[in-house]
């Protein structure tokens, strides 16, 4: 309403927003992490966690708790919070929250299809799913037998909450295959197509479509929500792009000229003129740095492509650069034992830290939807931290290893920056 979120936002969304903001209090503090680090076995680990918000979810588990179970229980807690919010909200927030979960649902559906393909029992598959992406209709996938993907698509996938993405996916694929211009869409064609694509690829494509759709949905929201979500999604999309290019530098098929133009593009969010009409492309790097990024086949070129953006600063922190790694492998650079314990920042660590900072910043603004998304992402990171520490504890890694400090506490950077100024 005329950009007056301050006045009108609370009419519909004040209550869920306040809930999510008070839930923020439940994020693990640095002290808790230190306590977790000090644990000598998983029983102690669980005992520390029982004093936190996760307590009621893990308290009844048998000792010693399995890490898989721990992860699942933590995610179930997060999911129950999100479903509670969905129940307490009205449109357009409900749609926003549901759309937020679609990414996890895509992973689950593709996982189940893949499992069914390999004749695994459905009950087992459903148990192993990510609780964040669970929805009751998943059980319907059972009805499919053999290689009948056309039926699978026509009868099951279309009815799912995420059916829209599958429809778009098929449109995109058929559009890209049928070069004669005519888009054929008969059942036989679908089953050929589903057989051709690997599960991982389908998942990537679907997620790409999902991010585009999510972004489009956010663009219809009121001003503040739109700006915050626009920034978060663009940043995330750029990070993913850079990470994919970074990881593909050492892979032959992806970093030579043909791979760069063809195969690699398909994985990247904000590159890819291939499907420009059907998938909206988001990211700050598009379209300005499109050509530079496509041509990047080593680390320096990638850094140049990001020049002027904050990604350049992020890339400078990365210490394990792919090309120098090769030197190390062939004995050209022998660090010996001394450097072994020095903390290294991989690109994943850098991105993780930056993202955590971004999401924490989303809480600085009031009256917008970005907090819901940021909360989900920060909690997911927290669960990753917990699982990481649990694994270190269970293996009994020596204390001086750099891995012990590889977790990110949210809302910390801001405080540090404020103190510096």
């Amino acid at each position: 309403m005329l950009g007056l979120e301050m006045v009108s936002f609370n009419a519909d969304d004040g209550y869920p927003e306040a809930i999510i903001r008070s839930l923020r209090k439940g994020f693990l503090k640095e002290e808790t992490y230190n306590q977790l680090k000090a644990c000598s076995n998983l029983n102690e680990f669980k005992l520390v966690l029982e004093d936190t918000d996760y307590g009621s979810y893990i308290v009844n588990e048998a000792n010693p708790i399995e890490i898989v179970v721990l992860k699942k229980k933590c995610k179930e807690k997060l999911m129950s919070e999100i479903t509670h919010l969905i129940g307490q909200s009205t449109q357009p927030l409900t749609g926003f929250l549901q759309m937020m979960l679609h990414g996890y649902q895509i992973e689950n559906v593709v996982g189940v299809i893949e499992g069914v393909k390999n004749d695994q029992p459905l009950e087992l598959l459903l148990k192993g799913l990510d609780p964040l992406g669970y929805f009751p209709e998943l059980k319907n996938i059972r009805t499919v037998e053999g290689d009948d993907y056309a039926t699978l698509y026509q009868q099951v996938l279309v009815d799912l909450p995420i059916g829209n993405y599958f429809r778009k996916f098929l449109e995109v694929c058929i559009g890209s295959i049928g070069n004669d211009g005519a888009i054929k869409k008969d059942a036989r064609f679908i089953s050929d197509l589903m057989k051709d694509y690997k599960a991982e690829k389908i998942k990537n494509m679907l997620k790409k479509i999902w991010i585009g759709e999510f972004h489009r949905y956010c663009m219809q929201l009121p001003d503040v929500s739109r700006q915050v979500m626009d920034d978060l999604l663009k940043f995330e999309s750029d990070c993913m792009t850079i990470q994919i290019i970074f990881n593909s530098i050492d892979i032959k098929g992806l970093s030579d000229a043909r791979g760069r133009e063809g195969e690699r593009r398909k994985y990247i969010n904000n590159l890819g003129k291939l499907f420009i009409n059907l998938i909206s492309i988001i990211g700050y790097l598009y379209p300005d740095r499109d050509r530079e990024l496509t041509e990047a086949d080593n680390f320096d070129k990638l850094k140049d492509a990001c020049k002027g953006f904050e990604y350049e600063r992020m890339l400078q922190q990365v210490s394990d650069i792919p090309s120098s790694k090769q030197g190390g492998d062939f004995g050209g650079k022998n660090d010996g034992g001394a450097n072994q314990y020095a903390s290294t920042m991989s690109i994943d660590d850098v991105m993780f830290t930056e993202k955590s900072k971004r999401y924490s910043m989303a809480f600085e603004n009031q009256f917008h939807y970005g907090v819901f998304y940021a909360y989900l992402k920060l909690r997911e990171m927290e669960i990753k931290n917990i699982v990481w520490l649990a694994e270190l504890v269970s293996i009994g890694v020596p204390r001086q290893m750099p891995g012990w400090s590889k977790f990110v506490v949210p809302f910390k950077y801001h405080k540090e920056e404020v103190q510096q100024n």
Partner: protein, 196 residues
Amino acid sequence: MASLATQCYAAGQYNYQGWKDMFYCISPHSWAYMGVALSIGLSIIGAAWGIFITGSSLLGSSIKMPRIKSKNLISVIFCEAVAIYGVIIAIILLTKCENLPKDLTPLNHDTVNTFIIKLIIDDQALWSAFAIFGAGISVGLSNLFCGVCVGVTGAGCALSDAQTPSTFVKILIIEIFGSALGLFGVIIGIIQAGKA
């Protein structure tokens, strides 16, 4: 000072002068009571709006942090005060309305055009009526925005108190400044209606 209407009458021009005549044709009583209605009505819209902005945030926050609920009622009370300002001014204005002459019969019965006749009420009554109307608008609008302001600050207060209890007092001071805005409107309103 002679009003436009009196000037017209003195000049013997009884006819329609322009759209501005419309305002003179409305009874002074109508203006005065409209002022009262605006002062109380807008103030209460402001107060109610503020309370719902604060209230929904307070409600959501107090689910996880029940300790904030009684403390943050202060924000709601600040919003409530805005409505009280409106009520006070409305009562003051109502007493002023009673000073208006009850009997507004035309002074001159000879005139053909009854509308023009109505204009010839005594100037003091007309002046008082407009003063009351103006006071009502000043108080109403200033309290409307004051209520929204206090409400938004109160919502922030509830949320931040849930996170960090030490911020409560600091935001409360800002909230007090916000609620002073309504008081400015009240003071001006009283001065405006003073001579009515």
